[in-house]
Amino acid sequence: MGATWEASAVRKFLIQMAVGAVVGVLSMAVLLYLGKPLLPLAGRVAMLAACMGALYVVLGLFVGAGAMAPGAGAHFLNVEDAEELREQRAMLGYSAVSCCLAGLFLLILSVGPVAARGSGSTLLAVAAGACLLGAIVSGKLCFDRCDELMRRICAEASVLTLNLGLVLLSGWGALAHLGLIAWITPLGLLAGVSLLYLLASFWVVGRRGMLKPR
């Protein structure tokens, strides 16, 4: 029984790794192909923000696909079986939407100004604002459907992000004040916060042993 479970868990882990790697490589290739004319003009910070945005969109699509098709989702998401995905479909659905909109928000801000060639900044602001508002609303709807464990994880990830952000920004601010480094750009700040929240979430979930294949 134990050996069977272990073999099954290892197989599932390998499938998850393979699917993650293929989707990751494909999405980055698509991003670089589509953004080829725009990204070099937008600069390195915009490139980092675009990659973060694409990562959020891909994560959202992964979770959304798993929630919509639990039978397949049970193979590439870390759940016990398809039934677990069905039980949490609403929460995962809103989480996926929130994640995708947060990613689109970053993508619009990173390549939008170059794509619009300086014109249509009002339209970009409206589109980015709509994505941000949608991400916040769907995030709230997701939070309302979380049970106490998931709420605790969200709270711990938020606190860790805030603390890490305070430390990094304080250090960066001090060095920038002394003229040793340049101050972070607004887009760099957005990309950095998104990266910190993602890392903090994985750290909190991993520390509770919840990344272990089930």
């Binding site: 759940v79 039934e83 677990e84 039980e87 049970d147 106490e148 998931m150 042993g209």
Partner: protein
């Protein structure tokens, strides 16, 4: 904190999903509690105690003793 949730759950013949459904949380939460990865809130602990019909301190084991 160590606990005997799995012991009481299995003695009633319930799956993790069944217990989760009865107390209104996800299966993941029950799994995390049983494997000592998460200490539940007081309301959740009280609900478990009611379902298992035992006091909370028989489910959740704390070795702390007050100083004499």
């Amino acid at each position: 904190m160590e606990n005997r949730v799995k012991h009481f759950r299995e003695s009633l013949g319930w799956s993790q999903g069944e217990l989760a459904r009865r107390i209104g949380v996800s299966r993941q939460t029950i799994n995390a509690v049983e494997t000592d990865k998460y200490d539940p809130s007081l309301p959740l602990a009280l609900r478990m105690a009611k379902l298992f019909a035992v006091p909370v301190d028989q489910i959740f084991l704390d070795c702390w003793e007050p100083e004499a």
